[in-house]
Amino acid sequence: MNIAKPMLALVTGLLMTSSALAIDIRIGVLNDRSGIYADLSGEGSVIAARMAIEDFGAADKGINVEILSADHQNRPDVASTIARQWYDNDNVDVIADVPTSSAAIAVHEITREKNRVFIVSGAASSDLTGTMCSPNTAHWTYDTWALANGTGSAMVQEGFDSWYFLTADYAFGHALEADTSAVVEASGGEVLGTVRHPFPGQDFSSFLLQAQASGAKVIGLANAGGDTVNAIKQASEFGITQAGQALAGLLIFITDVDALGLNDAQGLVLTEAFYWDLNDETREWSERFEAQRGAKPTMVHAGVYSGVLHYLKAVEHAGSKDAELVMAAMRELPIEDPVMGGGELRIDGRKTHDMYLFRVKSPDESSGPWDYYEHLATIPAETAFRPLEDGGCELVN
């Protein structure tokens, strides 16, 4: 069965070389479908990929696309086994999404080895386009550098120029804090201090009180997942944002805000690559998405849509699914879609586009479900991502 399909494609390809393309593409959507990231990626990413295939009109163009999906349970070993199996046995051409950095890096390395294409939307690590960069990976939606930079620089410009960090005490938290501090200081702000909390943390009260006592205008949350959610809940109990200090989340998604509720999350400032209520096109797309999913899309879903759409355009342009040709076409073609706007795919694998700074509305300001963000600033694509030469990617030279 595994041999039959490509053979069939080959034969049909030979028979109709003059007419339309006859290419079989298999897209593997690999993400968390049962754990903490299931809401922000999960089945929604499969829906987003399917929407991209429909909008591209793949069937009419002679490109036959099939989607596979699997749950990696946020475990790198499970992700690694599935990715290998997909590439070796199931003839998967491109893997999309993959939240959790350790799992994404595992798939990133296997994709390089097997020479296929990897479109990252869910994972955050900026190392994917830095020291570990690969010619086969496109990092589509966001990364830790962009989030730190967006929130750090834009907030200082808005007048929030003194910061205090609440940092998860492990490598990820330290990196996020260091990146953001550098941006804050470069933009003319100052860092008054930092407090490290154990990972994973339960009780943040003493850390929050220290941060409150520092008198800083912003408390930066250099942590992720459950730690961020717990810290925000407890900050709300202390009335920190109501008392005038801003809370900046450095890695938080609209689904987290939805889960927290506006009462707890109000006043939080964060950076995202996408919000459903940005313009008519995003509203229209998000409505179609919501009809299938029952919830508004996250930026991870938007990234999967945009990435898969551009991949299919590149396949059509190259007239082949060979990874090298497709990646070259993806870099060459201008990126433009209704959801994430314009941008480019750089040589280090970073995809650039505008990023947005938002503040979470208070329950009074919100007009209903999913009306969560107030737009504060737009960070233009040219400055939203780490400069090419700073990443340490060997493909740059």
């Binding site: 749950d71 070993d77 690694s80 490598a171």
Partner: protein
Amino acid sequence: MTDQTMSGAPVNEKTRQPLRVPVLHMGIFAALLIFFLAAPFFLYPVFLMKVLCFALFACAFNLLLGYGGLLSFGHAAFFGGASYISAHAAKMWGFTPELAVLLGTGAAAVLGLVIGSLAIRRQGIYFAMVTLAFAQMVFFFSLQAPFTGGEDGIQAVPRNLLFGLFDIRHDRAFYFFVLAICFGGVLLIYRIIHSPFGQVLKAIRENEQRSISLGYQVNRYKLAVFVISATLAGTAGATKALVFQLASLTDVHWTMSGEVVLMALLGGIHTIFGPIAGAALIVAMQNYFAGFGAWVTVLQGAIFVIAVLLFREGIVGVIGKWLKKPL
């Protein structure tokens, strides 16, 4: 030979033909070997390697629980610790696979000696909690130490030339290297269980006070079996790091300690082949149910509940009961 015969058939069970049991065991081992030699030609090699590594891990754990009567809840420390050492050695120091596995195994042995010498002073739930506490220390060390790469783990670990001579980078070639290690490990465990040392262990498990009164240095036996179990768990972890070419926090997380308990229980403690069956079942569920999305954890839970309700002695334990032979 007589020694093996004796221990193969526990004294309380009347085996009409005492010679049959070791013959049966050897037959099963031979069948398993033939199956695993042929398997990569019709099953996916990476999946099989994962099964083999976890089978060795579960057997090593079961040596301690099923035959030593000691429930450790911290075996992830040895499994994961060794996988970090072996991944680091292969990646940063360019160690050949066999040396990387040996180094990981050695590290697990030392760790087992340190943790074991403190843990065996307590019994029952206290023993389990002490091992869990040490495993958490190893977890936090792995999270913080610079060489482990934090939550990204050690990635892109190369498969170097075997003995510096043979290219085994390809999955199928590497499979036979893993098969040799894991099968060797399981056979070693079988031999240990049926040695005089294993007999004393079972005596201690059944009645510790009586073993002391018979003149055995009980704590020395417990420490020895703890170190052996930790060492072989380390071998499994070190091999796994090379199979997946990564070592990550999943390997040292407490859920990994839980998973190996689950494997041993599902397959059947007090059996030799039980942990292998349990490991194969759990790994197959993780792999082939991945497409079911959110249902994968629900299915895992349901299967565990069914197994606990219907096969109290584990799958292999129940089969052994039907056959009236210890498996």
